[in-house]
């Protein structure tokens, strides 16, 4: 039976008159990658920091491993069991990778061998490299290594790929996938749709302090993502009219592509059969809805690369 690692109920966090987290409730299960997806200022980091016991809550409850984040004696127990990669992770510049991980490891009574963590994150070549000389991606890997040094059951990764180039981002994704394989529970916050979709077992879409929807990527896409789209490249106006008359929901874009919204695979095959009968050899592309479509549907906007809601 899957154990609940994090349990949040009616969580509220207010800064004066601003309600940063507004009546949020969710669970995180053992061994899953749970993603908080939302734009900057949505309340992701605030929620995570409440669970990390470094930010007080206003009302509601938040528990990790059954311990209350508001009780001092429980806080000690939670801190022993969690690993954290904070947003914009930084470390002591003049210390080496190993020394920085040792520093974090030195804070715990029980920790795993630093070299083991370094190996796990594939940082062996950089063991004695100073932190200041590392690239952004490597720095994030050091941050993840530091988060694992106490062998935590739950790992918080707060915007782990923000500001990284695509290659470095993929490297971090690979690290997160490995954490899942190791059986760690991962609480990921991100404003990258693709990241949440690729990595998460469950996603909570959060905006303005409220969770809009929560579920697995497939559940969310099937429920909120809309219909699949079949694109017939350079199909032209005549074909568009034919498909429209047969199946409806057809558009012609400026490039002459015919775009058809379909409900299921069966309908898609029908259209393709029609094209074959018409002996039309056109390039066909099938576009399935993504989390971005889900987000657009439930929040009513898109998130820019910088994390702003548009």
């Amino acid at each position: 039976m899957t154990e609940t690692v994090v349990e949040v109920r009616s969580l509220v966090k207010e800064y004066g008159t601003l309600r940063a987290v507004d009546d949020v409730s969710f669970d995180v299960n053992e061994g899953e990658v749970f993603a908080f997806l939302g734009p900057n200022g949505a309340g992701k980091t605030t929620t995570v920091e409440i669970l990390e016991c470094i930010r007080p809550l206003t009302s509601g409850s938040a528990r990790a491993f059954g311990f209350e984040v508001t009780k001092n004696e429980d806080v000690r127990e939670i801190k022993k069991r969690i690993g954290v990669l904070p947003q914009e992770f930084s470390a002591l510049d003049k210390l080496s990778v190993k020394e920085n991980i040792d520093l974090i490891g030195g804070m715990y009574e029980k920790k795993i061998d630093t070299m083991e963590v370094i190996k796990l994150l594939d940082l062996q070549d950089k063991t004695n490299e100073r932190f200041e000389n590392l690239s952004g991606g490597l720095k994030q890997r050091v941050g993840v290594a530091a988060a694992l040094v106490n062998d935590p059951k739950l790992v918080f990764l707060d915007e782990p790929t923000t500001g990284l180039d695509p290659k470095a981002r993929r490297e971090v994704w690979s690290v997160i996938e490995n954490l899942k394989k190791l059986g760690k529970t991962v609480f990921l916050t991100t404003h990258y749709m693709e990241e949440a979709q690729v990595l998460a077992d469950r996603i909570a879409v959060i905006n303005k302090g409220k969770i809009a929807v929560i579920g697995s990527p497939n559940e969310l896409i099937s429920q909120y993502g809309g219909r699949k789209v079949l694109v017939i490249r350079k199909g032209g106006g005549k074909l568009a009219e034919t498909v429209q008359s047969m199946y409806g929901s057809t558009l012609l874009n400026h490039g002459g592509d015919v775009i058809v919204k379909v409900d299921d695979v069966k309908e898609m095959w029908k259209i393709m059969s029609t094209l074959t009968e018409m002996k039309l050899e056109k390039e066909i592309e099938i576009q399935t809805p993504t989390i971005e479509d889900v987000f657009l549907k439930v929040v009513g906007g898109r998130i820019t690369e910088e994390g702003e809601l548009k």
């Binding site: 930010r55 210390l95 530091a146």
Partner: protein, 421 residues
């Protein structure tokens, strides 16, 4: 254990930072070399002085004996670099021309024409006056024992002396000293010239010193020079700046970069964090002290070497100022504010605490301020331990430093936020 881990990491990080090393150790050493060169007594300060001697003997065309002797007397003080100004020029214009475009302080002493004659006349008049007064006093004392003839003789003598003195010109002479009011050395120059003139006066009238001075050092084991007295002040001042500016900016930078936040997520508590940083800074300050003392010993031959008691005071002082640094970093938000507040506190304290010059030389209200500044107790305690070996002063100041160290660390722990808002 966690304190030790923080101590090791912060110390390593600092030791590998060139800028940190420069500002915490090399900069104080450079200042020590600079101040040491100024105050070590390696050479006596000399002041340039233009002298225009207008008292020329008309027959020989040379300066009169008295004016030449007066200039020799000025030279014998070894404090003046005397430059002679020709008789027929404007002394101020001449001095400015000699000093050149880079300028310099214009100090001109003019010996007037007739200096020798006026001096001799004045001397004779003073001597006759003294003889007259002495005789008159004696006369009043011995009058009851004198017969009429004796009285008459003395009265005639006194009358002749008074008549003769009246025929002597008033005498006396005036030297003119031109000093720039912006010249910081003008007071010293004036007092030396006046001293020489007074000595000249006494010599001419045959007066002898009644009050004499002998100068001795306080009873210490060794003979110390000014640089030795200066050294504890330098050590105290830089331990203070390292604590108040260095610790504040470093730990605020850790905070800005999220390093403190990252550590706060671990089981580390804020007291352990503060103690780790304080101990690290204390070790660095002990290293700084060692470097300063070694450089002072090698370059200036200082004898004030810290002993065990001084080392304890240095340790406590470091803890106290690092505690202040941790307290300030708990109060400020960004590095710029930390640097500004650190400088705003450290620099006035450095100059108001009697570190470089005695508190007694400052106005009374500043002396009152000095009494509440922690650096006053630290530099006093250190000076008592390193120089005077004054037990009572050592104990009192050490107790105050210890109490302040504990207080600042407690306040630091109270104001340091270990949780976000």
């Amino acid at each position: 254990m966690r304190t030790l881990t923080i101590f090791k990491a912060v110390t390593k990080n600092w030791l590998r930072s060139r800028s940190g090393l420069f500002f915490s150790i090399m900069f104080p050493v450079l200042l020590l070399l600079l101040f040491g060169a100024v105050f070590s007594g390696g050479g006596t300060a000399t002041y340039s002085l233009f002298v225009q001697n207008l008292d020329i003997d008309t027959s020989s065309g040379k300066p009169t004996n008295m004016s030449a002797v007066f200039i020799d007397a000025l030279n014998s003080t070894k404090t003046f670099n005397i430059r002679n100004v020709p008789v027929d020029v404007n002394a101020t214009s001449y001095a400015r021309e000699i000093l050149g475009p880079l300028g310099g302080n214009v100090r001109i002493l003019t010996i007037p024409q007739g200096f020798q004659k006026d001096l001799l006349d004045g001397t004779i008049k003073v001597r006759v006056g003294i003889t007259y007064n002495t005789t008159l006093t004696m006369y009043y004392i011995y009058e009851p024992y004198m017969n009429e003839t004796q009285k008459m003789t003395v009265q005639q003598g006194l009358a002749q002396m008074a008549t003769y003195n009246a025929t002597i010109p008033e005498g006396g002479t005036s030297l003119t000293l031109i000093l720039d009011s912006s010249d910081q050395s003008s007071g010293i120059v004036k007092s030396i010239v006046v001293s020489v003139a007074n000595a000249f006066n006494y010599e001419l009238v045959g007066a002898k010193n009644v009050i004499n001075f002998s100068e001795e050092q306080p009873s210490t084991a060794r003979q110390f020079r000014y640089i030795d007295f200066f050294l504890p002040g330098v050590i105290a001042a830089f331990i203070m700046t390292n604590g108040i500016i260095g610790v504040t900016t470093n730990t605020t930078e850790f905070k800005r970069r999220g390093i403190t936040k990252r550590l706060s997520i671990t089981p580390l508590n804020k007291v352990e964090w503060i103690l780790g940083n304080v101990l690290s800074q204390t070790l660095l300050n002990l290293m700084l002290t060692a470097v300063i003392v070694v450089v002072g010993w090698l370059v200036f031959g200082v004898q004030a070497i810290p002993d065990a008691v001084s080392t304890v005071i240095i340790f406590l002082g470091s803890v106290m100022f690092s505690g202040i640094g941790m307290m300030l970093s708990g109060l400020v938000k960004d590095v710029e504010a930390a640097s500004a507040i650190g400088n705003a506190i450290a620099f006035p304290m450095m100059f108001l605490s009697g570190t470089y010059w005695p508190v007694e030389s400052m106005p009374t209200y500043i002396q009152s301020i000095a009494k509440v500044l922690p650096l006053t107790y630290f530099s006093d305690g250190l000076r008592y331990a390193m120089i005077y070996k004054y037990s009572e002063g050592i104990v009192t100041n050490t107790i105050i430093i210890s109490a302040l160290a504990v207080a600042f660390i407690i306040i630091g722990a109270l104001v340091t936020r270990w949780k976000e808002k």
